[in-house]
């Protein structure tokens, strides 16, 4: 029992879960009864994409990589989705093409970083400009809408909760499949030590490649959800999402040095970021101070979570009892 509790505390997502619950309570005190249907559907619609892409990004970070092309890929999917739906294409076909485009973006990242071993941050910075550049090229100014049927389904299925939760569920289940498969262990192994993974017979380059492709697939699903919610195309719609996703991962206990973290923690981190905005809006009424206040809050969250995680890692390590203690 006690060791189960310690394992729970040692779970990398634990600190972000505490943060999330605290924010829920703080918000309840500041604005009682805020957690109504309208708030929840709105929250899931507007923060869902960040939650989903953070889980995607955590795959890359855990395997020791870095991906700052989150917003590039999501913007591209957004305009492709809208442009195709303007042409009157069948919905299912649109979704398939979006996923193919997303996979293609991931393959490009993965090839450069995994097989050509180019610095991840530079590669994905360049490809990010490339992807958002294509997006802007296709759609210079915001326009368009998603097919009416899809829009109605998104906003009304199961009282408006169904669609955003379905998207989120796909991502979370996807994460668990990865986590429980052979690939899951290999991601953690490669993230912790590439050399030793190689010596253990793991194809390090392939694991890195796959991490970028899977992450891109997650961003794509996230972008489809986002586009349906906004019902419009805008090549700059996802900008600022990359840094937010990285922040969410760090708050969620994912180490940027690789090998440590949990996609679920990233999701908690992203949700906390969304809830924190509600908190700021409740406290700070002056619109000019809101950015400053949310900046302060984010800084506290990042520093606090990092330090707490470090403390837990030191405090709760289960030192093995040396039974063969006779030294020679």
């Amino acid at each position: 029992m006690k060791s189960k509790l310690i394992n729970f505390i040692r779970w990398p997502a634990f600190v972000s879960l505490v943060l999330l619950v605290s924010l829920l309570i703080i918000n309840q005190i500041l604005s009682p009864g805020y957690l109504n249907k309208a708030y929840i559907t709105n929250f899931l619609g507007s923060n869902g994409p960040l939650i989903m892409s953070s889980i995607g990004l955590s795959i890359v970070l855990i395997s020791g990589g870095m991906d700052i092309s989150v917003d590039g890929i999501m913007s591209l999917i957004n305009v492709v989705y809208i442009t195709l739906s303007e042409s009157g294409m069948q919905t299912i076909l649109i979704l398939v093409i979006c996923i193919l485009v997303g996979l293609f973006c991931g393959i490009i990242n993965g090839l450069f970083v995994g097989y050509l071993r180019i610095t991840p941050i530079l590669t994905t910075f360049a490809t990010s400009s490339l992807f958002s550049g294509i997006a802007l090229w296709i759609m210079p100014s915001p326009r368009g809408s998603v097919p009416k049927g899809l829009l109605n389904w998104y906003y009304s299925w199961l009282g408006g909760f169904g669609a955003p939760i379905l998207f989120l569920l796909i991502i979370v289940i996807g994460w668990f499949i990865i986590r429980k498969s052979k690939l899951g262990i290999m991601l953690y192994a490669v993230g912790a030590n590439k050399e030793n993974s190689y010596l253990s017979g793991i194809n390090v380059y392939r694991v890195q490649f796959i991490s970028y492709v899977l992450a891109a697939l997650f961003y794509t699903i996230s972008a489809i959800s986002m586009t349906t919610y906004f019902s419009g195309g805008d090549a700059t719609v996802a900008s600022a999402l990359t840094m937010k996703a990285i922040t969410a991962c760090v708050i969620g206990g994912v180490l940027l040095s690789g090998g440590v973290g949990d996609g679920i923690g990233a999701a908690f981190g992203a949700t906390s970021l969304g809830l924190a905005i509600t908190t700021v809006l409740a406290i700070v009424k002056n619109a000019f101070f809101q950015d400053f206040a949310s900046g302060v809050l984010m800084l506290i969250a990042v520093i606090g979570c990092t330090l707490l995680n470090r403390y837990i890692a030191n405090k709760f390590s289960k030192k093995g009892v040396v039974i063969n203690a006779e030294k020679d």
Binding site: I177, K180, S181, K182, G184, I185, M186, Y188, A189, G191, A192, N193, N196, S197, Y198, L199, S200, G201, I202, N203, G259, V260, S317, K318, K319, G320, V321, V322, I323, N324, A325, E326, K327, D328
Partner: protein
Amino acid sequence: MKLECKNISKRYGSVVALNNADLTIESGEIRGLVGGNGSGKSTLSKILSGAAVLDEGEILIDNFPYKANSPREGKEKGIVMTAQELSLLRNLSVSYNINLCFLDEILGKSRFINKDYAEQRAIELLEMLNIKHILEMNINDISTNEQYLVEFAKALIQKPKILIVDEITSALYKNDVEIVKNVLFKLRDEGIIIIYISHRLNEIFEICDNVTVLRNGNTVGTFDVSNIDENELISYMSGREIKDVLVSEHLDEGSTPVILDTKDVPLNVHNKDTSVRLRVREKEFVGIAGLEGQGQKDFLRSLFAIDKPITLEYKGEVVTLNGPRDAVKNKFAFISGDREVEGTFKERSIAENAVAVSDLVLNSKIQEVDDLLKNSGVKYSNAKDLIISLSGGNQQKVVISRWTATKPNIILADDPTKGIDIQARRDVHETMRNMLESGSSVIMISSDDEELVETSKMMPMSRVVVFYEGTIVATLYGEDISLENISATSSGKY
């Protein structure tokens, strides 16, 4: 089964690691593999296990050519090696680490990892090695000897046909060694070829049937352990005839005052806490000999406060150095043999490299850079050229001139001539002698015993200390500083 390695050669850049080495082993044998620093035993085992690819030569298994381009290929063909530096992943549990090499084996019907099955497979081995209690722990949470046993279990679970055990026992306790020994005997009787690498010669005699000696990348010979004694074995390893260690009574320890007393410097070598104390006199040359990984590097680096602060007695006063900056200000110098990483600033000019410490740390401008470089024997055309335009030996001389410019009292040199040509080597030794004569004391590690013998003869006052498993096991003066004595004491004979 029969393993034959014929004329294996392997070079790393200009360094020849293996030069026409041979090795033939048949099933039912534990073969010891011994040799001094740079003898090529690690390289040979890396080639066999697939972690390195040979340049020339061929390997036959049962008369079929064998080649592994990666550790994975090696494992699939049944050759498995335990790594001296441990190949474990610190963020994974013990059972996943043990199963890591063939994860397909622990997939359930659903293609998901079956944690229970992974633990079940691991526990059999852990029980055999008497460390069952660590099953659910992470590698970070278990002690070093247990980590080495996990590394061993990780190799065993792959059911190797050829098992290479590289220095596994150094970190183990006595009863662990007994367990490992019995497992190896059992595997041998099952017909598995075992290659056993260790610097502990008594273990070679205890565990192995035959022993192959490597020297400078070449095979010296293979001997039945019952027909050879320790002295003969060391003789083959060093290429000199070794009888017993002859240390004449030596009273002349020099008359200059002691400038540095390191006090007890704590070391942890192979899971054992030890400490080493060294008193260095003014103008004295102290050579440090020993097989690689006996704690000498950690000792030297501690003196420069590289990883943590250190308190020493220096010039008669107690001084605390909080980091290399403090060390430099107290006139310490540190010359690393790892030029690429710790020596040169690659994208900077020769002149900038030479004045880096004086300029940036001591804030004293060096006017005559050319004189400084020439005194160290650097051959260059223009000091404004990038340092990487020079040969390796000349680069190292620039790094050394950087330190001579600071007029240090204590020069700490960590294998400073590693991988540079013979002429550059001589220039480095020459510079060191000049420094000694102008008042510095030198503490120098060398992985090349011959170099220590040569340089000691050059210096006005010299001494060689020999490290073995984290302690100084011998101190040699004058005529006693010989290859024979260094080789014998490095192998733990003292």
